[in-house]
């Protein structure tokens, strides 16, 4: 990283390029915001990202949608989504942290095979695990239950989390753990009191990914969940732009409501993102 400033022309070009990327990144987002606050359900022809008229009707419609029993749907779906995502995060984090630690620190028979397996299962298209999973969950009596969904999401998130966390654990110095062992700490004690606090950035990123996996998924959710009371937000959103009528206004409002929590979480944890994601791969 050079301290010298490049010539003005180059700097101007760089800023122009960055502005272009900013515009490209922001434009679709602004369009959605515009659509959410504009009356009517179809997209307007005008490519301008500024709404001509501002209304809250879509948010109001979203908010006041009620189910068969008169209960508010949006709150129900949001609650379902939050429960599923939080439970997935907790479960995925617990399972992948311990597994990644074992894979990073111990040399045992079957270690390489496990690592390869955790990588290989990501290659089988998740969409097509749908049929066998459907049968399996049905047999377990977990079809159309949020518990079944949590189990499926957690297991699909685990392989990626294990690899990310293992990379992170690899980058942590082992001397601290050895010192703790010499001082008489148990294996679990070392894990909980030494390793986990050090691995906080890696854990934050892993938690973020588990959460996003669950919060954003719609194919499995719309296949497994057959009762309206257990729908999650993505199922609602997908149905807003269904095959027969595209209610883009409602969709845009829903998209904002759905995206805001994820974005908040994302920006809360983004300072961990760079370190948490690359620690292992950099060192290797």
């Amino acid at each position: 990283v050079s301290r010298a400033r490049p010539p003005l022309a180059l700097r101007a070009l760089t800023y122009a390029g960055l502005s272009a990327v900013c515009a490209a990144v922001l434009y679709p987002v602004l369009l959605v915001i515009k659509k959410a606050f504009e009356p009517g359900h179809s997209f307007a022809l005008s490519p301008s990202p500024v709404p001509e008229e501002v209304t809250l009707e879509h948010f109001r419609a979203l908010w006041s949608a009620t189910g068969a029993g008169g209960e508010p749907l949006l709150a129900r779906f949001a609650l379902n989504s939050a429960l599923v995502a939080l439970a997935t995060t907790a479960l995925g984090l617990v399972l992948s942290t311990t597994a990644a630690y074992a894979l990073s620190r111990f040399r045992f028979a079957g270690r390489r095979a496990s690592l390869t397996a955790f990588l290989a299962v990501q290659m089988f298209p998740a969409t097509l695990l749908l049929m066998p999973l459907y049968v399996l969950l049905d047999r377990l009596g977990l079809l159309s239950s949020l518990v079944g969904l949590v189990l499926v999401y957690a297991t699909t998130a685990i392989p990626f989390c294990v690899w990310t966390l293992k990379g992170y654990f690899d980058s942590l110095p082992r001397e601290l753990e050895e010192a703790a062992r010499i001082d008489g700490a148990s294996a679990w004690g070392v894990f909980f009191r030494v390793v986990l606090p050090l691995a906080r950035p890696g854990l934050a990123v892993t938690a973020l990914f588990s959460f996003m996996t669950a919060w954003n998924e719609f194919i499995l959710a719309s296949t497994f969940l057959t009762e309206e009371s257990s729908y999650t937000l993505p199922v609602l959103l997908k149905s807003a732009v269904g095959e027969y009528s595209a209610q883009w206004g409602l969709f845009a409002a829903g998209a904002i409501v759905t995206s805001v929590p994820v974005m908040a979480l994302f920006y809360l944890l983004q300072r961990y993102l760079v370190g948490g994601l690359t620690a292992g791969s950099v060192k290797g």
Partner: protein, 529 residues
């Protein structure tokens, strides 16, 4: 004095280690025996109850009233238009109209059964998930004889006593053999472990018995060669590691490995109208031979494969180029507002990708889409994006590039941060130009560190269902579909060809596996520290 030093102690130790080996063998044998028992029990229960229901339907067809266990049934007449509402097709059972206000709940089942039997001939099946009710229907004089029969008793219970007795006997034989010496020990393990072959033969035929015997022999051989003892020692030595790994391993085994194996197996079956038939490699042959379609047909496997490879290559290249370029620019210390740019540029990553995909689908709509709006504002012709492969593909790539470059940028930023600053400074002092520094310092650092991210990105893109499915939806006519969406359509949109879809999934899996093993070093790079 240790226990093994005395002769009695040595025999005791031998017995104990032989019992450990026996436990492993017996657990496997027990699983096989239980599996064959369950299959056998279900089959004989089904045969028994189906025969009972069929007999009841026969009796009704003959005009008799079948005696016990009949829940509902009778001679159902052919469907007649109702006098009041001609669009209602009514059926009578023993002179009484089926359905209507106050009708018994079984009427719907009888009506449907009669309908199916008229169309497909005599049939018998379980009418509820528990298998407590059996429905039989056959065409008869004057309509369809339908019988809904309740099974008088459940299926046979598990012979716990028999199994426990055999297991105990096997343990005694194994322990006895072990006390007598090494050769009797192997014999004892083989015989003791094979004890369960007898009931397995009864339930699952010679195949199950042979399987149990093979397990017992393998157990004895493994014990003889010391494999079991070594595995046990490794398990004890690394019990913390295995303990840490076990929860995730178990979860993966149940919820990923089992469906995956089932998914792989389904590829060898054909699914038509709810029935599965084993067809061997037919599905694979059908797919890999192009299914008799021309190479230019979008449903031809090689056409889809070509689109998929192009799709993956285009996206990974764009992600990499844009991500690395932005990371390099954002590292420049003279750049103002770096934090702002960084926060802005990861925005696409933070938005759920199905929302992104649906937005881009809206933006590329030909009548009201924003992209055409911009084009016409610039005085250019509007494009009908989803009516040609090239434009639909471009739309997909645009959407996926938009949502995918931040990942690469963040990874590249992390890598750049890890390059020691003094290397650049030293090179600068030595008079290296910016370009030389990039080629000789930055690039050699970036390449190995980005390799795993690129490999992972390629796998994700290869299987990127949401963008293809929601942006172009495969338009026009499935041409822009990639392998995953194609497989999904065979399963859920083109007549439930589950077997064919599973074969597609297997092929995708194998392509990615071979590509990873041959082409990348993701696993090999992972060297012990």
């Amino acid at each position: 004095v240790s226990a093994a030093a005395t002769p009695g102690g040595a025999a005791r130790a031998a017995r104990r280690s032989a019992l450990g080996a026996y436990a492993v063998t017996a657990a496997l044998a027990l699983a096989i025996a239980l599996g064959s028992f369950v299959l056998h029990r279900n089959r004989s229960y089904r045969e028994r109850e189906h025969a009972r229901a069929r007999a009841a339907a026969e009796a009704i067809a003959r005009g008799e009233r079948p005696a016990a266990h009949l829940v509902a049934g009778g001679l159902v007449s052919a469907a007649q238009p109702s006098a009041r509402y001609p669009f209602l097709r009514r059926r009578l059972v023993d002179g009484r109209p089926l359905g209507g206000p106050g009708a018994p709940p079984g009427d719907k089942i009888l009506y449907d059964a009669a309908q199916r039997a008229e169309r497909e001939g005599a049939q018998v099946r379980f009418a509820d998930p528990d298998g407590a009710l059996v429905l039989a229907a056959r065409p008869a004089e004057g309509g369809v004889a339908v019988a809904l029969v309740e099974a008088p008793g459940g299926p046979a219970g598990l012979p716990v006593g028999l199994l426990a007795g055999l297991l105990l006997l096997g343990a005694l034989v194994a322990a006895g053999g072990a006390a007598a010496g090494p050769a009797p020990r192997a014999l004892g393990l083989a015989i003791g472990g094979g004890a369960l072959a007898a009931p397995s033969a009864l339930w699952g035929g010679p195949a199950a018995a042979a399987l149990v015997a093979a397990v017992a022999l393998a157990g004895a051989a493994a014990d003889r060669l010391g494999l079991l003892a070594r595995a046990g020692a490794e398990l004890r030595r690394q019990r913390i590691a295995y303990g840490f790994l076990a929860p995730a391993g178990l979860a993966m085994l149940v919820l990923v490995a089992v469906p995956l194996v089932v998914g792989l197996a389904l590829g060898f079956y054909n699914h038509r109208h709810g029935t599965w038939t084993f067809v061997g490699l037919d599905n694979f042959v059908h797919i890999l031979s192009g299914g008799g379609r021309a190479l230019s047909d979008p449903l031809n496997f090689y056409f889809t494969l070509g689109v998929t490879v192009l799709w993956t290559a285009a996206n990974v290249l764009l992600h990499l180029a844009i991500g690395v370029a932005l990371a390099l620019v954002l590292r420049q210390s003279w750049l103002g507002g770096r934090g702002v740019y960084r926060v802005l540029f990861i925005l696409p990553w933070a938005i759920p990708n199905y929302i992104t995909a649906l937005i881009w689908n809206g933006m590329f709509q030909s009548e009201y889409g924003a992209v055409n709006g911009i084009l016409s504002a610039l005085g250019l012709d509007r494009v009908s994006w989803f009516s040609e492969l090239a434009t639909a593909f471009t739309a997909n790539v645009c959407a996926n590039t938009w949502l995918g470059f931040p990942f690469m940028m963040v990874v590249a930023l992390g890598v750049l941060e890890s390059i020691p600053r003094d290397m650049h400074e030293a090179a600068e002092v030595d008079g290296a130009s910016a370009w030389q520094r990039f080629v000789h310092i930055t690039l050699p650092h970036l390449r190995p560190a980005l390799a795993p991210a690129v490999a992972l990105g390629a796998i994700w893109t290869f299987n990127m269902f949401n963008v293809i499915y929601l942006v172009s939806g495969g338009a026009p006519g499935g041409a822009s579909d990639i392998l995953v969406t194609e497989a999904y359509r065979w399963a859920f949109e083109r007549g439930e060809r589950y077997g064919l879809a599973a074969a597609y999934a297997t092929i995708i899996f194998l392509i990615l596996l071979v590509w990873t093993v041959l082409g990348t070093r993701v696993t090999r790079r992972e060297a012990p520290p």
